[in-house]
């Protein structure tokens, strides 16, 4: 994910677990957050819920990465406020087009 996004010109801040992701999102105020559903500490869904509760990150677009076996989590992800999801393994091109689409939607909404 990091490789493809950086190659495309995005600046990426990557973290190793859910709590660090939450802290990084609050610190860097990113244009987009990509969250793996299964992360140590806090799950992607929990991080997404926390982001939606914070005024500063409430409107930040969120994409969830989910394994095929966790597709049942997608509904919970949307309920937590995610904007889109991608099933692993995914095509890097698909990732990029979803990132562009979600960011465009976010710009339109704001």
């Amino acid at each position: 994910v990091r490789f493809k996004l950086e190659r495309t010109g995005f600046t990426v801040v990557a973290t190793a677990d859910g709590r660090a992701a939450l802290a990084a999102a609050k610190e860097h105020a990113p244009d987009l957050v990509v969250l793996d559903v299964m992360m140590p500490g806090l799950t992607g869904i929990e991080v997404c819920r926390e982001l939606r509760l914070d005024e500063a990150t409430r409107a930040t677009p969120v994409i969830l990465l989910t394994a095929r076996a966790q597709e049942a989590d997608v509904e919970r992800g949307f309920a937590a406020g995610a904007d889109d999801y991608i099933v692993k393994p995914f095509s890097p091109r698909e990732l990029l087009s979803r990132v562009h689409a979600v960011m465009a939607r976010g710009r339109l909404a704001s």
């Binding site: 490789f3 493809k4 190659r7 692993k88 393994p89 995914f90 095509s91 890097p92 091109r93 698909e94």
Partner: protein, 360 residues
């Protein structure tokens, strides 16, 4: 005394020397493993950027073929990335492995002496999803080593070719069987394309294979096979097959399965395992027409069947809850304890924290 003391001292010195030698060997092995690990990491790191470019479709050009240990690193990293990408990136990685001759080499290795080599080759061909290698893998299903047979069965599932279903079913039992779990998982991985080959194999299959067939058909949601399920539930001579057929009807979840499940549930001369599976399947379907039969099953007080049937009534909406209420109201009835339990659990699930009326 002197001789004994010096012998003891000698033995102690020998023991200490032996211990020191063992510690030195262990330390040496640890150090060499660390060195090898570092070399491996360095080799992987040097080939990774080019493979990342390929996997992320930054380029269509295959990198120059590296030599020696870097070549092994390239194969290792390419396989690692293969599991993580799909689409064009995956195709480029497969192109690379084919161009390097890795797929052809793995196919040759499936015919070589050395069970470990054959199992590794099968796993590799499964990872790359090589449809061309399906025949090599089917041949490995009759390998003398069980681990090789299992690796081949797993790989055939990863490749996903429905044409492999008859060969997979052929190794469910017998003296050279593969693990039934591996076979079932592989068939499920093949997906709905496996439904027709499964149905075609059914008439001539052994009881163990018929059980796997119904488990797989149920998990695949094979609505077209619903009459096969009903027929097997009613007529099959093997209890396990009948249980699998009942479970399959429950998983499919169509009311069309209710009549045959009701018959099985009410066949008091039939095996308890089948009646219990039928009750669970009816509970899963949740059709209102199954409520009277489930209520009668609770009233029998036959532990496994009554408990499952009571749980089914609790999920069948108002008519089911009404029947449970009636069963509970007859304290002398055999089904009363099961009705009380099911109502209590239902109450707890709906309103956690409220007081249970177990004494009612």
């Amino acid at each position: 005394v002197n001789i004994t003391s010096s012998a003891l001292a000698g033995a102690a010195i020998g023991l200490i020397a032996l211990l020191a030698a063992l510690i030195a060997i262990a330390a040496g092995r640890k150090a060499s493993r660390a060195i090898l690990g570092n070399r491996r990491d360095a080799a992987d790191a040097s080939v990774r950027p080019a493979l990342f470019d390929l996997a992320t479709e930054e380029t269509d050009d295959l990198p120059e073929e590296p030599a020696g240990s870097l070549r092994r690193a390239e194969r290792r990293v390419a396989l690692h990335l293969l599991e993580r990408v799909r689409g064009g990136g995956r195709e480029r990685l497969l192109e690379l492995l084919a161009a390097r001759g890795d797929i052809a080499a793995a196919r040759r290795r499936t015919r070589r002496p050395g069970a470990i080599g054959r199992a590794v080759a099968a796993a590799f061909l499964g990872h790359v999803g090589s449809v061309d290698a399906a025949d090599d893998l089917i041949a490995l299903l009759s390998d003398p080593h069980a681990d090789v047979r299992n690796a081949a069965a797993r790989a055939l599932g990863q490749i996903g070719d429905p044409g492999a279903v008859p060969a997979l079913l052929a190794v469910v039992d017998g003296p050279a069987a593969a693990s039934a779990n591996v076979v079932a998982s592989s068939i499920l991985r093949i997906g709905r394309g496996a439904i027709e080959p499964l149905r075609e194999a059914f008439p001539t299959a052994t009881p163990a294979t018929r059980t796997i067939i119904f488990e797989a058909l149920g998990l695949l949601g094979a609505v077209a096979a619903i009459d096969d399920f009903a027929s097997a539930l009613e007529h099959d001579a093997d209890v396990h097959v009948r249980v699998a057929a009942a479970e399959g009807l429950g998983r499919i979840g169509l009311p069309r399965g209710v009549p045959s499940l009701t018959l099985a549930l009410e066949d008091r001369d039939g095996p308890a395992a089948v009646r219990s599976a039928a009750a669970a399947a009816l509970a899963r379907i949740g059709a209102p027409e199954s409520v009277p039969a489930l209520a009668r099953a609770v009233a029998t007080g036959e532990h496994d069947v009554a408990r499952v049937a009571a749980g089914g009534l609790a999920t069948a909406g108002a008519p089911g809850l009404l029947q449970l209420g009636n069963l509970r109201a007859a304290p002398a009835g055999l089904g009363a304890p099961y009705a009380i339990e099911a109502l209590a659990l239902h109450h707890l699930a709906r309103e956690p924290g409220t007081e249970l009326e177990l004494a009612a």
